[in-house]
Amino acid sequence: MSAITRAEVAHLARLARLDLAEDELDHYAEQLDVILTSVARVSEVAADDIPPTSHPVPLVNVTRPDEARPGLPRADALAAAPAVEDDRFRVPRILEEEE
């Protein structure tokens, strides 16, 4: 029994907008299975008294004071955009025709 099904990998790929070929789905399903199984083994060892770690550094409350400073000049902000119109980033159609 693998830790992740091929259908789940296909679902995740779609959510991440990755266009995976059939053989790639097999390939990643296999690799992800190894990763998940390994993580599951760590979970077996970690008892309830060990909280899940989301941050490797034991720090809390890192903040900066609320002070404004200028950002990028607009030309620089837009420089790397594939398309610009009216000083805005131009992006392709969001909804397909049929919707």
């Binding site: 941050h55 550094v57 809390v60 409350n61 890192v62 903040t63 900066r64 004071p65 805005r88 159609r93």
Partner: protein
């Protein structure tokens, strides 16, 4: 598609359950994760930097004031403040965020489990409804999209879209209520009263300018209907509700629509709907191609937030007077009751009355203008009273003119009509429109003589001692002088003319 059914019928048969989701943009100087300024209305993409544009290698750092403001909001809403919580990434593909995720909070909101008491006026007097607060969490606002190429400027049919990221990264607080039940036909008013109260609290805290018209306070309304005793129905979520008035209208229209669907044997679909200010109805929004799957996970670039208890208590002690306490104080000072106060609050004119009183207007007069004439004009033009072009100083000036006898009530209304229409200050409107009480006795006497001649039978009655008949003559004189006479003065002159005394 089934037709909506009239509101009274809808609420006689079904019980509404409502829930509100309010987003408040915090009024911080800088964005949540970077130092970009947050001023409204700046030219597109002039308040952006590598962090809020999601450029590779940039790292967010939390704005201390955003945390503080969120906690203060939570405390004002009687919430518990988390001892430890994290930000989370909400993953989705939509160009309003350049990173393809929004940093928000998921299962560890900063504030949970509070409540807010709101008052709605009813025929049986003011009713207090306790609205439960599910959570208050902190997130970043998204960029602003403009859809191009379509006929309507909407996303449907657009060829492409343009994005301004000035707003992306402005700290945003989301406040979610628990489901509100048992309000029956009052549900739309409760929804409005809740958003009004919330807005006043934000203003009192000074954490946001809460301008609905500029989007710094945005509201989504969830509505479902069920038969009495039955399980809750399927809910719809109405977005684009951009004024206090619209909150009430949107909930009401959704109740009518859903009742129509249910009555005709249909099923309410769980969907996002859009409210249209012009028609007052909701239409289905973008259908979701598949169930939402945001794959939230703890934000790895930001460390956990662990507000010290002493600090939270210090913030609690520093909270301003609650709006309800503040209102009680005003009610006492102005000599009005709960009902009158609730009416002012729900008409959205309380702070306007307050400002007018501060400018020297008598409380009764300030209330009369705002709750009466100005609310009527605002409703007719479909705007909020606050956006009318009349200032507390204008009201003070007009009241001064009334007190001096230069204007009467009717003329004052015309002066305000001119002021609101942008014709200038009250004095300019008075001059331009030639509005002034006719106090020249000669002019009044000739108008009185004409009126008496036109109604000899009435004149006879008055001469015979029926003083109450004088009203008809006074009315005729007021009409002849187009309201520019002082009615009291006319009456006095009339009785003198006829040689009868008043009483």
């Amino acid at each position: 598609m089934s037709a909506p059914i009239p509101y009274a019928e809808a609420v006689a048969e079904f019980e509404p359950v409502i829930g509100m989701e309010v987003h408040v943009e915090l009024g911080t100087e800088s964005k949540i994760f970077c130092g970009c300024p947050t001023a409204f209305g700046a030219p597109p993409n002039t308040q952006v930097c590598p962090v809020c544009l999601g450029l590779p290698g940039s790292m967010p750092v939390m704005n201390a004031m955003a945390i503080e403001s969120t906690i203060r909001i939570g405390l004002a809403l009687n919430c518990s403040i988390a001892e430890w919580c994290r930000m989370a990434r909400k993953n989705y593909f939509y160009p309003d965020m350049p990173k393809d995720y929004q940093v928000s909070q998921y299962d560890e909101p900063l504030c949970v489990d509070g409540y807010l008491d709101v008052t709605v006026p009813t025929d049986d007097g003011p009713m207090v409804v306790r609205v439960g607060i599910e959570r208050v969490h902190l997130e970043e606002d998204t960029g602003k999209l403009t859809h191009a190429g379509g006929a309507t400027g909407r996303i449907h049919g657009a060829d492409y879209s343009l994005v301004d990221y000035n707003r992306a990264g402005i700290p945003l607080v989301e406040i979610v209520t628990k489901p509100v039940t048992g309000t029956g036909a009052l549900a739309p008013e409760v929804a409005r009263a809740y958003v009004t109260e919330l807005r006043d609290i934000m203003r009192g805290l000074g954490v946001s300018d809460v301008k609905m018209e500029e989007g710094s306070l945005r509201c989504d309304a969830n509505v479902s209907l069920n038969l009495p005793g039955a399980e809750w129905g399927t809910r719809s979520e109405t977005k684009n509700v951009n004024s206090l008035r619209s909150v009430e209208r949107a909930v009401r229209s959704e109740i009518e629509r859903q009742a129509g669907v249910l009555k005709s044997g249909g099923r309410v679909v769980q969907e996002t709907r859009h409210f249209h200010e012009d028609t007052g109805v909701t239409t289905p929004g973008r259908s979701k191609e598949h169930a939402e799957d945001y794959r939230y996970f703890p934000e790895p670039d930001l460390v956990p937030i662990a507000p010290a208890r002493e600090w939270v208590e210090e913030l609690r002690r520093g909270l301003p007077e609650q709006p309800s306490v503040h209102r009680a104080r005003l009610a006492q000072a102005w000599g009005i009751g709960d009902f009158e106060m609730a009416t002012l609050v729900n008409a959205g004119v309380l702070e306007l009355v307050e400002a007018s009183v501060a400018a020297g207007v008598a409380p009764d007069a300030a209330r009369k203008w705002w709750a009466g004439e100005f609310t009527r004009i605002a409703n007719e033009s479909g705007v909020e009273p606050a956006s009318l072009a009349v200032t507390p100083a204008d009201i003070a000036r007009v009241e001064e003119l009334i007190a001096s006898g230069a204007l009467n009530d009717k003329l004052a209304r015309q002066v305000f009509e001119g002021v609101i229409a942008g014709e200038g200050t009250p004095d300019e409107v008075v001059a331009a429109r030639g509005l002034a009480v006719v106090s020249d006795d000669g002019a009044l006497l000739s108008a009185i003589d004409e009126a008496l001649a036109a109604q000899p039978d009435v004149a006879e009655k008055i001469r015979g001692g029926k003083v109450q008949a004088a009203g008809a003559i006074v009315g005729a004189v007021m009409k002849a002088t187009r309201g520019q006479a002082d009615a009291g003065k006319v009456r006095e002159l009339l009785l003198e003319r006829l040689g009868v005394s008043d009483s």
